[in-house]
């Protein structure tokens, strides 16, 4: 039994990958963790960000070795420039990007779809539907990359990553990282397109030796993929035909066992002959795909009509396919089940004892407006906490605050809060920018010694990691100092008064400043717990201030007589004492 992430790691091993570089992102973070744990022959690294990871993989590929870059789709946005540089260029060692879409927004991302990059850059893409395919397609992706001289994207989803199923593996498979030095040079497409466009002097051998006829490679693959057995054509009933890929194939197959199917393993380019064969076989042709309507558009571009989003409108009507959704539209008279109404939903909450709660509390209490980053601290943006006013992408908060402050002529100090993960990923560029453009912003760096939200991977300032050496650990304060930050202070998150004073001083100083708030992630590092707090119900006036702190341990509970008490869950509370600072009745005791 393996989940998709384990299977991809196994595939990397079987393919003889030499270098794996990535950036953590739910749901595919574990691909790297498993690769590192189980296959020590493969060099693994968590790179600074996704763009760096792709560049590392490109360099390793040019050196002749199979390499992979791992990220989620929002990370591919960051890395798109690097991928665009590799697309269409000469490939030595196979270059595969493992990219996970958060279909159904199950991990909480927006509704992104990495297949747009396949269309934009003309890249082959593969999509497995279960763990066996995740392993097998990984190997296939490297073969395609080398045979057709192109980077390849292996598209995972939250469902394939987190579904366990049986995988048959060759126990005798031994690891071998072969060196393939086919091309002595490899440049981005600009030079090759110069030749294609027949610019003046483009016949010169110095230019023509750089030439890589990538459109011809893609065309060759477009023809050959009609014979790929991973593009599986099942001609059954003549009424309904379904073109699909990934897990939606299994949903549809279960609901419509009699239908005819084309299950695409290679989702780009499309096997036109097989699609036409299916279209001619059936009366009604549907496309069932999670995410955006990419297969549907690409099929329609071939001049073949299919039914897709007109039957199943996409976001916001629907975020992902389920067997139920397919049955509802294609199986007449299927019974419909209705969920119980008004079952309360759950918003994400910070762990009890998290340093982010302290910062959110101080900002809210002192009415300091601030931007949050992509960090566990972004939970402070949700309506149950209301600690932040602005939040966008990973590493953005420093530049967001700077932009706000210059627009307001530096009359307000709109603060930036950023985690250590966001700081190193791209926040550092924002900080550099802030300094040399004379900003007066305040930056709060929450240093919890890891990338906490994805489960605690190492960053540049962590004291652990795949390639950790104490002498190479970076120090956030020293880096800030070197960049030229005027006012730097480091405080312990649990020293509440000191933390509040430090933040207020920084905000009120008319200069740029960084407050580094240190406290290791309570969950990752399993910090020792204090005696849990409790609420003295005789003193509690149920004002709800402590609930606003946003701690997972503080709940409202219905008592036997129907009244509502506010209580602290003793199993969850870490005894950090933050909630007692907000209680004006001193009802919270330890």
């Amino acid at each position: 039994m393996m989940n998709g992430n384990e299977a991809v790691a196994r595939g990397a091993f079987e393919a003889g990958v030499k270098v794996a570089a990535g950036f953590p992102g739910t749901p595919s973070t574990e691909v790297m963790d498993y690769t590192h744990q189980r296959y020590p022959d493969i060099y693994c690294e968590w790179s600074t960000n996704e763009k760096v990871a792709v560049e590392v993989a490109i360099g390793a590929s040019f050196a002749g070795y199979r390499s992979l870059a791992l990220m989620k789709t929002v990370g591919l946005h960051v890395a798109a420039d690097a991928l665009g540089g590799a697309a269409g260029s000469q490939i030595n060692g196979g270059l595969v990007l493992v990219v996970s879409d958060d279909v159904g927004r199950l991990a909480g991302d927006d509704y992104n779809d990495c297949r747009h990059y396949g269309n934009m850059f003309g890249l082959p893409m593969l999509e497995p539907g279960d763990s066996q395919e995740a392993k097998d397609f990984m190997v296939k992706a490297f073969e395609i990359s080398e045979e057709y001289s192109t980077p390849v994207i292996l598209k995972l989803t939250s469902v394939t990553c987190k579904t366990n199923s049986r995988v048959v593996i060759d126990e005798d498979c031994t690891y071998e990282a072969k060196c393939r030095e086919k091309y002595p040079i490899s440049f981005s497409k600009v030079i090759m397109t110069t030749i294609m466009m027949k610019a003046k002097g483009s016949e010169h051998p110095k230019l023509t030796k750089c030439f890589n006829d990538f459109p011809a490679h893609y065309k060759r693959l477009t023809n050959n993929c009609n014979d790929y057995d991973i593009n599986q054509l099942e001609l059954n009933g003549k009424k309904i035909g379904i073109i699909t890929a990934g897990t939606p194939y299994y949903y549809a197959k279960e609901v419509l066992p009699e239908a005819s199917f084309l299950k695409l393993g290679l989702i780009m380019p499309l096997p036109e002959k097989k699609i036409r064969e299916l279209a001619e076989h059936v009366e009604e042709l549907y496309v069932i795909e999670d995410g955006h309507d990419i297969l549907e558009k690409n099929i329609k571009d071939l001049g073949i009509s299919v039914i897709g989003k007109e039957l199943w409108p996409k976001f916001p009507e629907m975020t992902r396919f389920t067997p139920d959704i397919i049955e509802e539209k294609l199986v007449p008279g299927a019974p419909k089940r209705t969920p119980i109404k008004d079952v309360p939903f759950r918003l994400p909450v910070s762990c009890a004892g998290c340093s982010h709660l302290f910062i959110a509390q101080i900002l809210r209490k002192n009415k300091i407006r601030a931007a949050a980053d992509v960090t566990c601290g972004l939970i402070g943006c949700f309506p149950h906490m209301e600690a932040y006013d602005l939040q966008k992408c990973m590493g953005s908060s420093i530049a967001l605050a700077h932009g706000y402050n210059v627009a307001k002529d530096n009359k307000e100090n709109f603060v930036a809060m950023i985690g250590d993960g966001g700081f190193w990923a791209t926040g550092l560029a924002g900080l550099t920018n802030l300094i040399f453009n004379n900003s007066q912003s305040t930056v709060i760096v929450v240093d919890n010694s890891c990338l906490a939200m994805t489960g605690g991977q190492n960053v540049a300032s962590s004291e652990f990691g795949f390639n950790y050496k104490p002498e190479n650990k970076l120090d956030i304060a020293k880096v800030c100092e070197a960049i030229g930050v005027k006012d730097i202070v480091t405080v312990d998150a649990y020293e509440y008064d000191n933390l509040e004073k430090s933040i207020l001083n920084a905000v009120n100083a008319k200069t740029n400043s960084v407050v580094i708030v240190k406290k290791p992630c309570v969950t990752k590092f399993k910090l020792p717990k204090n005696t849990p707090s409790y609420i003295d119900q005789d003193l509690c006036v149920k004002c709800g201030k402590c609930i606003k702190v946003g701690c997972l341990a503080i709940e409202s509970k219905k008592a036997q007589d129907g009244s509502v008490d506010i209580v602290i869950n003793q199993d969850i509370c870490t005894g950090c004492g933050l909630c007692s600072t907000v209680c004006h009745k001193e009802a919270i005791k330890q």
Partner: protein, 203 residues
């Protein structure tokens, strides 16, 4: 009659050990030679969120990783708000195993949403399906913290209900949990079987 397979939804909130529960159960069914598909999709990225695992075993290859509403044989839930989310998915003869433990939703804590007016336990009791409701408060033990080990208690309950070999199941627990936790886990498991015996007898 030969068991050809079942569809199970395992539900709860983060930190209740749902992954361990499904992991132990999967080892048991693998030993019996079944095909399995287990999807731990919901709740993968958020603290304080609901966790939902779709667990399918069958003597034939399994297609969909998600179970269609109406195809569920067992809902095994560690938190009763989460139980309510899946009751409608049960087959007519499906069975629900639910803890009365409740972690109030953030939306209710902060007044974004009203609490359900009726007791959740009462709503579950009213379901037309066969149900077993376990109140951890009634089964506290000095030997282990039941609120933290409800997963293994529930495993014992489920195994008893299904008439499985406790020796086999305990062996799997023994092989799967760290040495120092083995004893506590086995006591929790046995507690689960005892509760089940009493409940089944009363049924």
């Amino acid at each position: 009659m030969q068991d050809t397979g079942k569809n199970i939804i395992i539900a709860g909130v983060g930190g209740q050990g749902i992954l361990l529960f499904s992991n132990l159960l999967s080892k048991f069914y693998l030993k019996l030679g079944y095909e399995l598909k287990i999807s731990d999709v919901i709740g993968l990225g958020q603290r304080g969120g609901g966790v939902e695992s779709h667990f399918r075993y069958s003597d034939k290859p399994i297609l969909s990783p998600f179970i269609k509403a109406g195809d569920v044989d067992y809902v095994i839930s560690f938190e009763q708000t989460e139980t309510l989310r899946y009751l409608h998915c049960l087959k007519d003869d499906g069975i629900v195993l639910s803890s009365t433990y409740e972690l109030t939703s953030t939306s209710v804590n902060t007044g974004l949403q009203k609490a359900m007016p009726e007791s959740k336990t009462e709503i579950i009791k009213r379901a037309e399906n066969k149900k077993f409701i376990i109140d951890p408060e009634d089964h506290k033990s000095p030997d282990f913290n039941i609120s933290k080990m409800m997963n293994v208690v529930m495993l014992g309950f489920y195994a008893e209900l299904r008439g499985y070999s406790h020796d086999d199941m305990i062996q799997i627990v023994r092989e799967s949990v760290p040495e120092k936790f083995v004893e506590g886990n086995i006591m929790a498991y046995q507690k689960g079987t005892e509760i089940a015996k009493a409940e089944i007898a009363a049924d």
